[in-house]
Each structure stands twice: as structure tokens, then as C-alpha cells.
Symmetry: C2
């Protein structure tokens, strides 16, 4: 029996258990992983509770931040809000967030960011709430075909998950495969607020420092001269367990070594977890492409996933901090199986995770003015919220357009084409002399409209697809910002309380100075991230808009050309 | 009290009364006009019955064919079929017709041709059963605004009809304006079968003969060297009854005199009635554009009607027999009001109407083989049926396409445009330097899609409109053929009975010879009509297809150009 430290409201349908501060519960499974524990309350109800809400010693998951904070009363401000948490807060990451500073940091604790969450329990629709257009998900698609915990192709119908293999977390656990666990409800910094960093007696030594410079646009990361890039290609089927289980391996080739390495989806997933743990407090790490994307055909699904993994990897490569990180380099350049396993173990034991990442950052400029920083953050917060709305609008409109372009519209062109051809074939039966001059041309016109129908149906894959993918990526990325911003805001708030904390002897005056300095580092980091985001955003949207308009123009030009040809078949009378 | 000569099944919703052969009814109103009489049966039910189904003396409507035939038993073959006539026979003129020769001519009597009927009681939709796309009929359109019996603009809200003014028929009658009368259920030849002509003792003397030659394609009308044409233009509002009633007058200018004459819709209607009476047995006279077409705006309605009157006049001008007829010439070239009134009275008294028109036709070739003729007729009958299906298919598809192009599709392009502009304006709020290079271009792209939306919505008026109008014209024209073919078929059948009729002394051997000769004239006429139809059809479809494809190509070219311009606004990165 253990004691509950804070109130926790279960989210419906997530196998969670609501608990109240001071309540006593029995731990029924401590090996759930991902920061969760299965517990039973006095009424016999069993469910998941965040492990840091309970006074238990967590299982070793290689996360230094999991250690209980020294002074719990100090962290009251970061405890979950005691106001009832409604389930709709989880649906929209923006609903609780950005409604101004009244709720403060705790408000953000209460919200469950969609972006990070979808990496674990995503809806089957890769682009929104509605079901995906035909292109990727036909009516006959089996929802579960690719829903294996570890994405293996079930070549023999076996549905077992490879529990525990290699990963730091054990998944599935007590309730088996039917249980969906939101592993990353509070990703990266889940075990603590920024205080762990702000008040750490001693920062990490010896590790490589990450530099931030003052650029034209403000604080910027130090970018490498040669940008890392990689190609994800050549998906191959592999198998194990005497062929009972098969999986897809992708070839990943970095431009640095030009030597391909093989990775399965679960390796990407592992990488994502590591990056999230290590950098997530400072850098928004977008989710991997959804696991549960379904496709009518295996090839289509694999192609789609590969494309999205490529997009994710490209984005990671472009980030100077991510691309230079040891774990990312390991992923791209491991020499052999042994090298990979050793590297994995080392990465999983890395203690510089969560907010401690800020300890490795060194801005080469004077401390920033907290007021100015706060204004910038608020502006960025409003910006990301507004952009999220804009991106979602494009996704909604694009999805409808996709449906129309692949559904009713080509059907209509086809019917027009058929109608011309039918009338033409009636004309052919007239027995009237010289009929062929008209009917040959009319039949050709009809066929032209059938060709146009095909073109219309195919076109979205050539242009709208990329517009959608880019906006979908940004939707995920934007979903990470509330957390990143909240960590920063919590730091700012703590510094504001500095005098009070000194006055009540919670901290020493020296600690207050240190805290201010460290918050400035956090602010530099956040601003470098903002600028990184903006610069990438301008690049990405410029590129995708050009591609879209270019393909659209080509499309209409081709149609016009076909119609000109059809027109030329008619004889002038 | 009068006796019912044949069974008649009322069509629901048409104020008709079902009667049985031998039943006695009371005539309650003999002044309905259009071949109808209002009668009351023994059960007290009142409704309309075709006047030739009753043993009454019809009112003088200037139609010689209305005189009772000399030997009723002789015409049994042309009496309405005694098989129950279902109401759905009226909906599709092709449903009863062309189901092979078993029903024979009587089958056609039973069917109510849509084409001729719509001239009187058309649905508000000018193109089909469904309501018309936005272009001509907005949601706020008042159904009745233009539904005046005589198409006058109700400038003062008065809704009286100008009963009886000038016309040969009295309309409205006992049951007032609410009653819709199908005046031309059996147009032209309604008062008799072809026997009147086949067995006439003496044919019309002195009148100008219409020649039929053997052309390359078979029998053809003698076409004039200079084709008559006219322009319908310049609609002007006139008024009468001290301004209480106003009307629209159109200017009609023939290419022969180049002198405009003015005509109201009701004059066109009068002309149509005359042509139908005089030529309808031999030549399909398409209905006038519907009276009840409604438009949101007066201007729109007038423009639409004018365009359709132009189409109708052009078609009439193109027909050598119609264009050379006295009544048509009167319509186009009357000198003054007095001239017009005199001509009208003369035309209304013309006795060479109905099947007697065949008496004025002189084929300059030997008699045709009836068997061969019958085959040709059957082929043409199948052809017109098939073409009717084809035309209706295009109308259906075109109407759906129209709806999509003026409704959801431009809305979607508009939303895409708005979404781009919204995102662009979010980007503008980033505060990030150099943002304008992207946002200016994105805003322009968004505006481009709004322009495309407008183009898409406007396009159907520029191309689909003419495709629809042509097919709609042909739908009407094709609807006339069942009657034309039936008259001919009845003639053929009568000749086939020749020997039997001679044997039973119904006719003399000389009359049999005369009959065969005259049926041959009918056959020449029909074939000249077929060839006229085919040659016009090829011309019309060639022209409209070229126009459609040309406009479509231009449309897509313009879109592509706009997209190219939008694309060029983005900076290459």
C-alpha cells in the first residue's frame, strides 16, 4: 500500500484510475513503464496512475529525474491542478493552454498535448479527425493489420507482441495487448519541473556544450557547416522466430558516411523516445509517423510510412542539436550489431535528460531581460496557436478537396465522357452518310474526358499530398510547443518568486542569482528554437507552395492541351 | 348530354375526367379550347375530356379536320387503345412508343409526347425533372412571377389573364387561372388519322407545291439558295390597360428585309400553334421555350427567353417548308398592325391543316417501296429513341456538373484560397525577419484560388450552357417524332389493308391506287424530314462540341496561367 501524493483525474477510456491526495492504494503492477503504475484503490478499482503521483520507488528506467525532489512543498506550484480535469482537455492541446497565465504551469501539466500523445495512441486518420481519403485507406482496409505493437508484418497470422525486447520500457504488461497506454503523457520533463535544473547544486560536467549565438534574428543555434541529411529507402522484409514473424527494415543512409544502416520502425521509435527524454524539455521533438496508419495494400502502407519516416529524419537531421547528439549519430552510423547494442545501452543510461539538458547549453551572450523574454514567449505562443488553427484549416479543406478530387469529380468527368461516347455511338447508327466526320471526333472528345477523369483522380497524389504532409508535420510539431513553452514559463515564474523564496529561506540569495542565470539560458534556448522553427517553416512552406502551384499549373496545362487536341478533331463547317 | 365515343383515362393532376365508351356525360363548358371539353359524368364528377372522344359538335376553331369522319367504323384502327392507359405513359413519350408494332398506331395515340406537351404545361425546370441549377433559378425565385398565361410582366401586381385576346383558342376558361390545360395533347393531326388525306376526293388546288428531290442521301426538301435567318433582340417593356399590365416585346429582324418587327411571346406562341396545326403532321414542330421558366431577376429571365426564342426561330428559319410558309413570312415581315391582323385572320382560317399538308407536297420521283420505307422508319424510330436517351443522359450529367461547378467546387477553391491567405496572415504576425518574402507570395496564391473559384462558377455559362441548350432543343425536337412517325405508320398500315378494304367494298380499287401513291408522298416527306434532321443534327453537334471544347480549353489555360503567375511570386531558395 502506498500513499497518493496528488490528485489525479482519470481520462475516460484510458484504463486510468482517479486518485485523491492522501488516499492509499495498492500497487498491482509496477512494470507498466512510461511513468505509469497499475494500482488498486480501496473500492477495488484497478487502473493506471502516474508513478510520480504515488509515494513509491519507481522501477529503474534510467531516468535521473525520477528521483523524488528534495523539498516537496517547494514544488506545489507544479503539482497537478486540483480543479477537476475534464476529459476534453486532452482533445485539443490548445484548449487549456494559452488561455492566459492564470492557470500557470499547472494548467499545462493538466493538458495532454496531442502532438506528443499521437505518437503512442494515434487515431487511424493521419490527417485529422475524419477518415482518410481513398488514397491511403480504402473501405476494405483492415484496421488492425499494421497495429502490432512493434509493427511486424504478421506473415503467419500470429499476433503476439515482442514484449520487452531490447527496449527500456516494458509495454503491454498486465492487461495485455488490448490496453493502450499513453506512455508519454508528460514527455521528457514528466518527472520534474525546471527546478531540478534551476537549483541543481552542480551541473553536468565534461559533456559537450551546445552553443547559442546572437544572430541577425536573435538567439540562434550554432549550425554545422555541412548539414546532416539522410535517405530512408529500400524497405525490405526480414523475418525472425523461424519465419513466424516478419518485419520491414528500412535502409537509412546518412550523407556523412554514405554507408547505409538498417532500421526497423521500432528502432525509429526507440530513437524518438531517447530524443524526447533527452531533448524534449528544450526542443520540440515531433512524433514519429503514426503506427496505426492502415493501408489497403502492404506496399502502399510501407511506402507511406517510409515517406513519413524520411520526413521525420530530415527534420531531425536539420536540427543542429538533434543531429549532433550521440544517440542520433549512433542511429545513423553504428558499425555493427554489437556497436548498436552497446550504444543503445549507453543511451538508455544517459542521465542528462529532461530539464538537465539546459545544463549543457551555453549562450554566448549576456543574460536576457525576463520581461522582454516573456513578451516574446507570449507572442510565439499566440503565433503557434494561430498557426495551428491555420494548419488545421488547410488540412480540413485539403481533405475535403482530396475526397472530391478522388471521388465525385472524376466520376462526373467520366460520366461526361461516357455520355459523349454514347451519343456518338447512337449517331453512328443513323445510317446517314458522312456521319463519321462527327462521330469520330465526338468519341475522341468523350475519351478525352475519361482521360481527364483519371488525371483528376491521380492529381492529389502529385500535389495536394505534399501540401497535406507538410501541414500534417507542422501540426505535429506545433503540438509539441505547449510543453516546451510551459517548461520555460515555469522557470520564469520560479524566478519571479525568487525574493519570496529567499525571504522564506527556501533558497539562498546565491541560488536566486544562479536561478536567474539559468532561466536566461532556458530563454536563449527557447528563442533559438523559435528562430529555428521560423526559418524552417519559411523554407518548408516556400518549397511546398512552389511544388503545389507548379504541379497544379502543369495539371491544368495538360488538361487544356488534351482538350485542344480533342477540339482539333472536329471539322470546321 | 352527349355520348362518349372512346375510352379515355384521365391523367392525374390534370383536371381530366376518365370516361368509358358508351357512357353519357353532360358538357359543362364547351369553350375550353385546345381540343378539350369540360364534362360532368353521372357521378357528378367534372373534368376535361378530349372533344373528339365525345359526340359533340366542336366549336369553330378553324380546323377543317375537326369535321366528323364519314365512316367511323373505318377508323377503328385509330381509336384509342382499349387497354388500360396508365398514367406513367405520359411521363416518358418513349415508354409506350417503339415497343414494337403490336400496339400499332393506337399505341401512339395513347402516349402523350413530352416534347409537345411541355409547350403547354412545362415543369419549371427547363432541362429536366430536377430543379434548375443556380444560374437561372435562385432559391428566392418566385415560381409564379412569370407564370402568367400570356407572359406579361405584372407591373402592378394584377394577375388577370388577357383572355381571348386575338387568339383562336380561349384559354383559362371555366376553372380560371389555376387550371393547367394540356392544349396540345394531340397536336396538329389530333382530329383525324391520315385517311382524311389518303382518301380525299380532291386535293387542295392552286396552292404552292412543296418539292422533294432525290439527293445524295435520299429524299430531300428543296432548299432555298439563300437561307432565311433572323435575329431576336432588344427586348423592350411595353404596357397596356393604362399601365396596369406590362409586357415584353422582342425585336425580330429577318435577313431578307433587314427590317425589324416587334413581337410579344404570345405572338410567338400563336405562330407555334399555326405551324403545328398546318405542318405538324408532316414536320416535327418543336415547342416554344417554356413559359414557366422562372428567373431570379427579370433581366435574367428575359435574356434566357430571348436566347431560346432565337434558337427556336433559327431552327424554324432553317426549315425550308416552315420558312417559306405564308404564316411564317407574315410573322417576320408584316408591314403594320393592320397587315398583321389581316394576316392573322387569314392564317387562322387556313383549311390546309393537319394531314392535308401532304396534299401540297410533290415528290419528283417514282413511288417508294413500302417495305423499304417501313424499314427506314423503324431504323429512324430506333435512332430517335436512342438519341433521346443519349440526349437525356447528357442533360442529366450536365445538370449535375453544372450544380457542382456553381456550388461546392468553387466554394472549395474559395476555402483553399482563404486557408492560404489565413495562414499567410498568421505568418505575417511571426515577427520574424524576412517573413514578407513568403507571405506576399502565399497571399497572392490564396487570391489566385479565389479567382479560380469565381472562374469555375462562371464557366458553365460560357460552355456547358450551350451544350445544355442544344441538347435541350433536341430533347424537344425528338419528342415530336413519335407523332410524326405515327401518322406515317398509320398511313402505311392503311395501305396494307388496301386489298381487304377493296374486297369489303369500303374503298374502290382506284382509291387503293391513289392511297398507295399518297402514302408514298408521306414517305418522301418523312424521309426528307429524317435527312433534314440528320443534316441539322450533325451541324448543330459539330458546332456545339467545338464551342464547348474551345471554351473548356481556354478555361483551363487561363487557370494554368494564373497558377504560373502565382508560382512566379515565390522566391527560389
Amino acid at each position: 500500500a502506498v500513499q497518493v501524493l496528488y490528485d489525479f483525474s482519470a481520462e475516460p477510456g484510458n484504463n486510468e484510475l482517479s486518485v485523491r491526495e492522501g488516499e492509499t492504494v495498492t500497487v498491482t503492477n509496477q512494470n507498466i513503464g512510461g511513468g505509469w503504475i497499475e494500482a488498486q484503490n480501496s473500492r477495488g478499482e484497478v487502473g493506471l496512475v502516474p508513478e510520480d503521483y504515488l509515494e513509491v520507488t519507481p522501477p529503474s528506467v534510467g531516468n535521473v529525474a525520477a528521483a523524488p525532489p528534495p523539498d516537496l512543498s517547494f514544488f506545489d506550484a507544479f503539482a497537478p491542478a486540483s480543479t477537476p480535469q475534464t476529459s476534453n482537455g486532452g482533445g485539443d492541446p490548445w484548449s487549456a493552454w494559452n488561455t492566459d497565465a492564470t492557470g500557470g504551469a499547472s494548467n499545462n501539466w493538466a493538458s495532454k498535448p496531442e502532438g506528443t500523445q499521437t505518437g503512442r495512441s494515434a487515431a487511424p486518420d493521419p490527417w485529422g479527425a475524419q477518415s482518410h481519403p481513398q488514397a491511403y485507406q480504402g473501405p476494405g482496409a483492415e484496421e488492425d493489420e499494421w497495429d502490432d505493437e512493434w509493427d511486424d508484418v504478421k506473415s503467419s497470422g500470429y499476433a503476439e507482441s515482442e514484449s520487452g525486447e531490447g527496449g527500456a520500457f516494458q509495454r503491454g504488461g498486465a492487461q495485455g495487448t488490448a490496453m493502450k497506454i499513453s506512455l508519454n503523457k508528460f514527455p521528457g520533463f514528466s518527472k520534474s519541473g525546471p527546478e531540478l535544473y534551476l537549483l541543481a547544486k552542480q551541473l553536468v560536467k565534461g559533456s559537450q556544450k551546445l552553443s547559442i549565438y546572437m544572430g541577425e534574428v536573435g538567439p540562434v543555434w550554432s549550425y554545422p557547416d555541412n548539414q546532416l541529411d539522410c535517405v530512408v529507402a529500400d524497405p525490405k522484409k526480414g523475418s525472425k522466430m523461424y519465419g513466424l514473424k516478419s518485419y520491414i527494415e528500412y535502409q537509412v543512409t546518412p550523407n556523412t558516411t554514405n554507408r547505409p544502416v538498417n532500421h526497423r520502425y521500432k528502432h525509429f521509435d526507440w530513437l524518438y523516445e531517447r530524443l524526447l527524454d533527452k531533448l524534449g524539455s528544450a526542443i520540440p521533438i515531433p512524433s514519429l509517423p503514426d503506427k496505426q496508419v492502415t493501408g489497403r495494400f502492404e506496399e502502399e502502407f510501407i511506402k507511406m510510412r517510409m515517406e513519413r519516416l524520411q520526413g521525420w529524419m530530415t527534420r531531425m537531421c536539420r536540427h543542429p542539436v538533434v543531429s549532433s547528439s550521440e544517440v542520433f549519430q549512433l542511429f545513423l552510423t553504428y558499425k555493427d550489431e554489437k556497436d548498436w547494442k552497446t550504444g543503445k545501452r549507453k543511451a538508455e543510461k544517459d542521465e542528462t535528460v529532461g530539464v538537465m539538458i539546459f545544463a549543457t547549453i551555453e549562450p554566448e551572450a549576456p543574460d536576457l531581460d525576463p520581461i522582454e523574454v516573456e513578451q516574446k514567449c507570449d507572442q510565439f505562443s499566440r503565433f503557434t496557436k494561430a498557426m495551428d488553427d491555420g494548419v488545421k484549416e488547410i488540412l480540413t479543406v485539403g481533405q475535403e478537396h482530396w475526397k472530391r478530387c478522388t471521388g465525385p469529380l472524376p466520376k462526373e468527368y467520366q460520366r461526361i465522357g461516357k455520355a459523349f461516347q454514347n451519343l456518338s455511338s447512337v449517331f453512328n447508327s443513323s445510317g446517314y452518310q458522312g456521319e463519321a466526320t462527327l462521330t469520330d471526333a465526338m468519341t475522341a472528345a468523350g475519351k478525352t474526358y475519361e482521360e481527364i477523369a483519371l488525371m483528376v483522380a491521380e492529381q492529389p497524389r502529385k500535389d495536394l499530398h505534399f501540401l497535406m504532409e507538410t501541414n500534417n508535420e507542422y501540426k505535429g510539431l506545433l503540438g509539441c510547443f505547449p510543453d516546451t513553452l510551459a517548461v520555460h514559463k515555469a522557470g520564469i515564474e520560479k524566478v519571479k518568486e525568487g525574493d519570496k523564496l529567499v525571504a522564506t529561506s527556501k533558497i539562498t540569495p546565491q541560488e536566486k542569482v544562479t536561478m536567474a542565470k539559468r532561466v536566461s539560458t532556458m530563454s536563449y534556448t527557447l528563442q533559438a528554437e523559435m528562430n529555428h522553427f521560423h526559418s524552417n517553416r519559411i523554407y518548408d512552406y516556400n518549397r511546398v507552395m512552389q511544388l503545389y502551384l507548379e504541379e497544379q499549373a502543369k495539371f491544368y496545362e495538360t488538361i487544356a492541351e488534351k482538350l485542344r487536341q480533342a477540339h482539333a478533331q472536329f471539322t470546321t463547317m
